[in-house]
């Protein structure tokens, strides 16, 4: 009898304790979160040697971002694996590169990074590829194989086998044949060059688009910064404004007053930067061919693009109930904000800076960009 009572009591205690554990948690590591520490051991080829400023790298493991180029310096934060950083200084120090990650400048160990982009998939046998960074030529298609030599950044190699293995290509360089990671090569025989511009951070300079047409558009956009808002117009000087040419705006548009003969409103600015229609190709000639009522609809000159696919020189537009706005996108930041070029309004004029945009806006891309 007594043993039954004790067993029952124990069972009740166990049952209640178990029920309690479903209602109150201890302090376990949340499987939906993880405290990051620098990974032990390097995951990929790493980077070494000089890299062009603006080169975008991707972290192959969790890696410390430090205040200076030594493991004795303080950790600013841990760069999560898969993150992109942008090289800020061409020369490494002690194997560390000066990089910017989501707005924070620091030093990170090169062996934890690889270039973004690069080559993948089958290529033509005998084709020429160019190293975008110093890269190992190995005895086999993987980092476990011995290094034969290092192909310097900017040097060309010839493809010996068109089909890569494990992301590595069989290449010939200076009479030696071996294997190199495709991530470190661009196709073609051009010398030097990075594998891509920065897409996060990099100060006020725009990321390199790799397109002369887009770069020219952004040059026009930058020229407009500092001019006054001029409702119903679009006219800018390629050298930018001066105190005597920037003009001024007062009041509430369209019933606003403008002085001077340069400036534009939001749609006049974008049309001028995009050179739409094609005849609108002179920055210094005043024109206002389209309003946001036009830009908000797809045409043969521009098409909707998904917000998560925005790239430099795309635009964001909204239109509702007779009101609208449009701005040019340059880059995003680590919070998802957008660095925009826009003629905002009478008080602010034409400016460049980070902003947000609600789901009222959608992205559009000029044809040919």
């Amino acid at each position: 009898m007594w043993s039954r009572v004790c067993s029952s009591s124990l069972a009740i205690v166990v049952a209640l304790a178990s029920a309690g554990s479903f209602g109150c948690a201890a302090t376990p590591q949340d499987p939906d979160s993880e405290e990051l520490t620098e990974d032990v051991g390097v995951q990929g080829e790493g980077v070494s040697g000089s890299l062009p400023v603006g080169t975008e790298l991707i972290a192959t493991g969790n890696v410390n971002l430090r205040s200076s180029a030594t493991t004795n310096s303080s950790v600013l934060h841990v760069v999560p694996s898969g993150s992109k950083v942008v090289v800020q200084s061409a020369q490494p120090s002690n194997g560390f590169y000066k990089v910017k990650h989501n707005g924070t400048l620091g030093w990170s160990y090169g062996q934890y990074y690889e270039p973004t982009g690069g080559s993948s998939g089958s290529v033509q046998n005998g084709a020429t590829m160019t190293a975008t960074a110093d890269v190992n030529l190995r005895k086999g298609p993987g980092t476990s194989y011995d290094v034969i030599l290092v192909v310097p950044m900017g040097d060309s190699v010839n493809v010996a086998d068109p089909t890569p293995q494990n992301g590595f290509y069989k290449l010939t360089y200076q009479g030696k044949t071996g294997w190199s990671s495709g991530k470190y090569y661009s196709q073609g025989g051009s010398s030097g060059g990075s594998s891509g511009g920065g897409s996060s951070g990099g100060g006020s300079s725009d990321p390199g688009s790799g397109s002369a047409v887009i770069d020219a558009a952004m040059t026009r956009a930058k020229a407009g910064v500092g001019f006054s808002y001029w409702w119903g117009h679009g006219r800018f000087k390629p050298e930018g404004p001066t105190s005597s040419t920037k003009g001024s705006c007062s009041g509430s548009c369209p019933n606003c007053s403008h002085s001077g003969s340069w400036g534009g409103d939001c749609s006049g600015f974008v049309a001028k930067v995009w050179q739409v229609p094609a005849s609108n190709d002179t920055l210094t000639e005043d024109s206002h061919p389209y309003s946001t009522a036009d830009f908000v609809k797809d045409t043969s000159q521009w098409k909707t693009v998904a917000r998560d696919k925005l790239k430099v020189a795309d635009a964001m537009v909204y239109r509702s109930g007779g009101s609208g706005h449009i701005f040019l996108y340059s880059k995003g930041d680590g919070w998802g904000s957008m660095y925009a070029y826009e003629c905002r309004g009478c008080s602010a004029g034409c400016i460049a800076g980070y902003r947000t945009a609600s789901s009222s806006y959608h992205g559009i891309r000029r044809q040919g960009y």
Binding site: I12, D32, E35, V75, T104, S360
Partner: protein, 360 residues
């Protein structure tokens, strides 16, 4: 025999008592931080501190908030569009940037300050949402607001004045702190204004902060930089960022202020498309608040609010809120209360509603 049965019943009673004790949060002890938080400003009882973790399901998986179920909040006040004393201003030009209240901040008394730039003022409400006056702001297009412990208002204007205006409690201008110097090569990269003690900072690219002056209106010389946003318990500098938007990977970093040593970088995995981070701040107890706009597959965007404890950044609760969909630009739609909880501004065609949410 009777004694043995009695003993068994006592054991059962003790077991039940223990179960109930572990199930229910302990009441705050006098003098503890919890006690201080138990009663908020204005005598309004504060919500109890969140449990360390949401309940564990029978499958062993930790359960966070469901994105399809929004957390009920507590409305503090609403303001219609307009220019009257209790209104907030809105401007939608035909061909220009639409503007509404650009920022909101709460002070140590629980008052809510709204940067009503269209009406050229900072509109104040008390902790219960009742009108509490306003102060005039001279800037044409102010964008962000921070409130100091003494009621100082710091107002950021990046594009017209390119400076931070410092007003005292009564609205008298104390000084203007220019956005210039080595740490601010591009005013467009400034992403917020902050007040910590008597120091006035502007943030650069959601990363480092640059001290531009103090609450007396004195310009800083030289400028110094700090590695992140100051936590309100005085113990950390905080940063956050998106690692991979499509998979919803984010990180939060805390730097220990007294030693400048890295305390933690914690990755959060929301497993949903992330649009943007909207809030990174803390309350007086050091709890970290991170708000993220996400877009669940097949659903409309919502805001996920995550609360993290300050030592390791372990998530301790969350909430799901509606997101703003109107075109009016804003700098800051959230403010964290010293006692804990957040106030969120939601704009509709009728006006703006400010609602309190606590992490659950």
């Amino acid at each position: 025999m009777r004694k043995k049965v009695t003993l068994a019943l006592v054991v059962i009673a003790v077991a039940v008592a223990l179960f109930l004790a572990f199930r229910t949060p302990s009441p705050p002890q006098p003098g503890s931080q919890n006690a201080a938080a138990a009663t908020g400003p204005g005598g309004r009882p504060a919500r109890p501190l969140p449990r360390e973790k949401p309940a564990v399901g029978l499958d062993g998986e930790l359960k966070g908030p469901s994105f399809s179920e929004q957390t009920p909040g507590q409305k503090v006040f609403s303001a219609p569009w307009g220019s009257g004393p209790g209104d907030l201003g809105r401007d939608r030009p035909e061909e220009g940037n639409p503007l509404g209240p650009m920022s909101v901040a709460a002070d140590s008394r629980g008052r809510i300050h709204v940067l009503d730039g269209v009406n050229g003022r900072i509109s104040r409400r008390d902790a219960d949402g009742n009108p509490a006056g306003s102060i005039k702001v001279d800037y044409m297009e102010p964008q962000d607001l921070a409130i100091g412990e003494d009621g100082t208002s710091a107002v950021l204007d990046r594009f017209t004045e390119k400076s931070v205006a410092v007003y005292d409690e009564s609205g008298t201008l104390r000084g203007e702190l220019p956005l210039e110097g080595e740490g601010i090569s591009d005013v467009g990269e400034v992403t917020g204004v902050f007040v910590d003690g008597t120091d006035v900072y502007v943030e650069r690219e959601h990363a480092q902060l640059v001290r531009v002056g103090d609450t007396s209106g004195q310009v800083a010389d030289p400028q110094i930089e700090v590695p992140g946003r100051p936590s309100r318990d005085g113990l950390s500098w905080l940063k956050a960022g998106i690692t991979d938007a499509p998979t919803g990977r984010l990180y939060v970093t805390a730097i220990d202020r007294p030693t400048n040593q890295h305390r933690f970088t914690r990755e959060l995995r929301l497993k949903v498309l992330v649009h943007s981070i909207l809030l990174l701040d803390s309350d007086k107890a050091g709890t970290i608040y991170l708000a993220t706009e996400v877009e669940p597959s097949g659903g409309p965007p919502v805001i996920v609010l995550s609360c993290l404890e300050p030592l390791k950044g372990v998530p301790i609760g969350g909430a799901v809120l509606p997101t703003n969909t109107l075109p009016e630009e804003s700098f800051r739609d959230f403010t964290v209360l010293d006692e804990g909880g957040v106030i969120h501004a939601l704009r509709t065609e009728q006006g703006v509603t400010y609602t309190r949410y606590d992490c659950e």
